[in-house]
Subunit: 148 residues, 2 copies
């Protein structure tokens, strides 16, 4: 596992409210459907529905100790095989695999696990998000139409 | 506010257990007292006591909805004046300031707030952690003795 974080996704109740808050602080991003992506150095800070984020991670958002913490750290890799390998390695290291690797709604391939303290990681291969040589993620220009 | 994240701190129950988990996945970091720092691209992923992290952020770790989520995103700046300015701007944008800017135990100056969805940010000036021209954070070599 390379030592890097590709995306930090904040689960939010209202994407537009959250976007306005970060925009008031000077952040500028791109919105694709109900998701906002801010380039932040070599990673992206993402705003997405908390309920969808929890569901997508395979974790109940129960508001109880041990339940979903509301943030997902994504580690993007260059192939589906790497997703399988890394999720397997995490499981052997004691992670709880909350979502077995599978194709995703955006045409990628990803799995999710929680670390021993319940922090959620997604291991993803997203053909739409290229990784630089050094592993940093640079968001594409979604354009007017934008990828689906 | 520049568009970047300097540190992602994961609150953990047992720093050694958490460190072993990430080391099994191939991560290599530096430990300073009870805190582990992993360089990850232009930021640091940090493991620290969840209880101390909550207390340091001024947020009760009650395990109830709206309570501490267990993760803090830090945005480091180059001066104490910037800390004051940014925490003030966040408050005007609707943030809940959970810790007014003040000197920190490590000789820095920091304040903390939660965004409209309860995600915690720390705005910090840490003279021990230099920021590159582009805002990325490169951990110092803590050495055998390490800074206090």
């Amino acid at each position: 596992m390379e030592q890097r974080v590709s995306l930090i996704t904040l689960g939010v109740a209202d994407v537009n409210r959250a976007r306005r808050f970060y925009e008031e602080l000077g952040w500028r991003g791109q919105q694709m459907q109900e998701t906002v992506f801010f380039q932040a150095g070599g990673l992206a800070l993402v705003l997405w529905s908390r309920a969808k984020l929890a569901e997508d991670s395979g974790i109940p958002d129960a508001g109880t100790p041990g339940a979903f913490g509301g943030i997902v750290l994504a580690h993007n890799v260059r192939s589906t095989a790497e997703v399988d390998a890394l999720v397997g390695a995490a499981e052997r290291a004691g992670a709880n695999v909350t979502r077995a690797p599978a194709t995703t709604f955006y045409g990628g391939y990803a799995g999710a696990f929680t670390d021993p303290d319940g922090h959620t990681w997604e291991i993803a291969h997203n053909p739409g998000f290229a990784l630089a040589e050094d592993g940093s993620l640079v968001l594409p220009d979604f354009g007017a139409a934008g990828p689906e």
